[in-house]
């Protein structure tokens, strides 16, 4: 299609560019684009790549701290953890792909986030997955759930990166829009930190990994007369993951970095060659000249448009020092990978693309990579917001033991081993705290340190109050990390929302970012990166606004880690922190009354911070025998889970009168941790609490007989066999999944 035809047919509209966006790019280009150029702009200016609706607001997030080596803007955030070591991490969504092909959609999502971390020069050492599906009673939702889990397993296990944690919720709004967010953590010696920069005029641009095919050439930028139905058919909408090639890519890239053959390195995600070339050149303030005839292709007859926009997986772009090309290609060959020098870095600030000797695209990289407009879309609260806060008055439960069992087998609270047993969570021999605890803990080989990580984000809270929900999510992720004794060093976030052009969605987005920013500031934790996924919406409506927070923390000494279950009988049990709990937005309301209602609590961030400090200080001093965040399902569920160690332990607990009701047992709220400790540690723990202005409410004792007894004054609220409770909790997912 010629520029005239593009103009005549307003072809940009089919590529999801607005008229004013087209005019903007014409102005930046100083002429009308040709077909290939238009395609390149359309992808790089898509919401997915350009953050048009979110960028303005994301600026509020605090991104700095002394230990932040790389903040947002690169492929992953990087934190200094001392001893010349650094940790890279990032989270990303793959929501739309899993809706059509759960297995491959999830698998390619894992591959993508691993390459982001690899692009920092880091060895990927752990994955976490945050998943949301519709009601598991629905066969289609189970199919999606099972497919996603086995896709993550199929990819992560094969590349040899352990999946050490994650989260899983089932809620109605995810029925047509399931969410799959995957976080990857990598480690690197500080000296090997690499940037995605095409620096050094004359340096070579090398494409490494899989061949380029017609995969994923953009839904958004798709369609035209030239790309008729036939070519549409040729173009697969879903991609197939190739973890074997990814594993080779990891080894080859790390070897290239180690041997100083890498000036810059960038993964190839959305918009493949176009985005990786434009972004690396833009970051370095350079240009690039590339020759498409040198790109190894999987299929015959591909056009420049297709080659430039292909999203074929398992490819990396390497900027190598001039003269070292052969050394780079030699490493690739040794690892059985194809590599090809496809171009060079130039000084003119343009991305020039040649094909069969002709210049087929010539675009200023700044315009491509940073020229997209930024929108401040209208925002207004949903009209029914206050209605959502209304909770009818409800009777107190008559049999709290039964309620406890119901909650324990609620799929969102039940034991998740059906999921994580499918993941290799031990490969690389670093996993010190396995999945199932508040946070996973990995040792850092060669040091005494450990890395803790957790993913959290309760979409129900955010739906009911986006600001508070976001604060709760940050607080919980950091609390989980603190519970194992680690200091939260940074978070990454994945913001999953509906259509941002709808004012209520935009409003909730803004509220979430505001909440996240406030919480991070108060807790002293920077945000080093993340991902925004809009348009998670079907005719039935949007997903719950779902911010997923991935926190990474540092344990100075791995021996100081705290388990999340009671170690045995004879320990004191106490509730550390707040004693307040609310039924608003709780799992209890959902399970008992199918109610998603009530305004979730406001977090007292000063108290939250202090509670987390006490957890860590107590861990460092060896005062805690266990610590478990008191989250969904409330105190009763947390106590029960604390009893569920491989050798079940009993607990005998007496609640103060104000907690002897449904809210006390099953209510939820921040800043609370169920701890156990040896009796002789009590005075020192209490002193710590006093020092930080944090409460410590003694609840009872762990006991040898494996029963959970919760009493209040002269009433026995719960008296259940721990084995029986554990069976409910453990069997829930397996029996649903057959």
């Amino acid at each position: 299609m010629t520029p005239e035809q593009i103009l005549a047919r307003r072809a940009w509209r089919q590529m999801a560019l607005r008229d004013e966006e087209y005019h903007r790019l014409v102005e930046m280009l100083g002429r009308h684009p040709n077909w290939t150029e238009l395609g390149m702009f359309a992808v790089l200016w898509s919401e997915h790549c350009a953050y048009k609706h979110s960028r303005l607001h994301l600026g509020q997030l605090p991104t700095e701290a002394e230990w932040v080596l790389v903040g947002p803007g690169e492929n992953a955030g990087v934190l200094d953890v001392g001893e010349e070591m650094a940790v890279a991490f990032r989270i990303e969504s793959h929501n739309h792909p899993i809706a059509v092909e759960p297995y491959q959609g999830a698998a390619t999502g894992v591959g993508g986030i691993i390459r982001d971390v690899l692009a920092m020069g880091a060895r990927p050492i752990a994955l976490l997955d945050s998943l949301r599906f519709g009601p598991p009673e629905e066969p289609r939702c189970r199919y999606t759930f099972a497919g996603v889990v086995s896709g993550i397993a199929g990819y992560g296990n094969c590349v040899g990166v352990p999946t050490v944690g994650g989260e899983l919720y089932f809620e109605e709004p995810y029925r047509h829009n399931p969410l799959c967010n995957v976080m990857c953590i990598g480690i690197l010696p500080r000296s090997r930190l690499r940037r995605a920069r095409a620096a050094g005029i004359g340096n070579s641009v090398i494409l490494v990994g899989s061949r380029t095919g017609r995969d994923g050439i953009h839904g958004a930028t798709f369609a035209s007369e030239e790309l008729d139905e036939r070519s549409e058919e040729r173009r697969p909408a879903v991609q197939v993951g190739d973890p074997f090639t990814e594993k080779l890519l990891i080894e080859a890239c790390l070897e290239l970095v180690e041997r100083e053959l890498v000036v810059g390195i960038q993964d190839m995600g959305a918009a493949g060659i176009t985005s990786s070339c434009a972004e690396t050149a833009a970051r370095a303030g350079t240009g690039m000249r590339i020759d498409l005839d040198r790109v190894p292709l999987r299929e015959e007859g591909m056009t420049p448009y297709e080659i430039m926009l292909s999203e074929s997986q398992e490819r990396m772009l390497i900027i190598a020092p001039r003269g070292k090309e052969e050394a780079v290609l030699e490493v690739c060959r040794r690892w059985g990978l194809e590599g090809a020098v496809i171009g060079e870095v130039t000084g003119d600030g343009h991305l020039k693309v040649f094909w069969r000797g002709e210049l087929v695209a010539d675009v200023p990289v700044k315009a491509l990579a940073a020229g997209a407009p930024v929108y401040d879309a209208p925002a207004s609260p949903p009209s029914d917001l206050e209605q959502r806060w209304r909770v009818p008055s409800l009777p107190e439960p008559t049999d709290c033991g039964e309620v406890l069992k119901l909650l324990l087998r609620s799929p969102s609270l039940a034991h998740k081993s059906w999921v994580w047993e499918q993941y290799d969570h031990m490969v690389q021999v670093n996993t010190v705290v396995l999945p199932g605890a508040d946070a996973a803990v990995l040792r850092l080989k060669g040091t005494r340190k450990g890395i803790a990580a957790s993913c959290d984000g309760n979409g129900r809270y955010t739906y009911l109050d986006p600001y508070r929900g976001a604060v709760l999510a940050v607080a919980e992720a950091c609390r989980n990390v603190s519970c194992v004794g680690a200091r939260p060093l940074g978070i990454t976030n994945c913001l999953n929302f509906g259509n941002p052009e709808k004012p209520d969605v935009m409003w909730s987005f803004r509220e979430v970012v505001r909440g996240m920013a406030d919480a991070c500031r108060a807790l002293g934790v920077p945000v080093t990166g993340g991902n925004v996924s809009f348009y998670n919406e079907s005719p039935a409506g949007p997903v719950y606004p779902t911010p997923v927070v991935g926190a990474v923390g540092l344990l100075e000494r791995i021996e100081e880690r705290v388990p999340s279950v009671f170690p045995g009988p004879g320990y004191r049990i106490a509730l550390l922190g707040s004693t307040r709990a609310w039924l608003q937005g709780s799992e209890y309301l959902k399970v008992m009354y199918q109610l998603v209602a009530g305004r979730p609590p406001e977090v007292d961030l000063r108290l939250e911070r202090a509670v987390q400090q006490v957890c860590r200080a107590a861990a460092r001093r060896g005062l805690l025998a266990s610590a478990h965040d008191c989250a969904e399902g409330g105190l009763a569920v947390t106590l029960a889970e604390s009893c569920f160690s491989p050798e079940p332990v009993g607990a005998s607990v007496k609640l103060p009168p104000e907690l002897g009701n449904a809210a006390g047992l099953f209510g939820e709220g921040p800043s609370r941790v169920v701890v156990s400790f040896a009796p002789q540690a009590e005075s020192r723990l209490r002193a710590l609490c006093v020092e930080h202005g944090v409460g410590l409410l003694l609840l009872g004792w762990t006991v040898a007989e494996a029963r959970l007894q919760i009493r209040c004054e002269d009433r026995v609220l719960v008296d259940e066999d721990v084995g029986g409770l554990m069976a409910e909790w453990q069997n829930a997912l397996p029996s649903l999944m057959g």
Partner: protein, 89 residues
């Protein structure tokens, strides 16, 4: 009657097939240079009850669309191989 039905499921043309490519490379390194391409897929053999071949075929095609293949990624091919003697009713 019972019929033996064969279902072949393959990736659509244009979809990357890492398995096929890896097998191709292995065959080459074993000296089978004459192999130019390998595509990997799945085979299912079903024994299905039905009144006649056509009914059975269309039922199995429905199963393919719902369970045995994912139409966004895969094509399928159903063939009724034969009626199973002595096992019908």
């Amino acid at each position: 009657m019972r019929y033996m039905v064969r279902v072949l499921v393959k990736f659509k043309a244009g979809v990357a097939d890492p398995q096929g490519r890896t097998i191709l490379a292995a065959l080459h390194s074993l000296g089978y240079e004459g192999v130019r391409d390998v595509r990997a897929g799945k085979l299912f053999e079903l024994v299905v009850e039905g009144t006649d071949e056509d009914a059975v075929r269309s039922r199995v095609e429905e199963m393919c669309g719902r369970l045995l293949a994912n139409p966004v990624l895969e094509d399928y091919e159903v063939s009724v191989l034969r009626a199973l003697a002595g096992e019908g009713r």
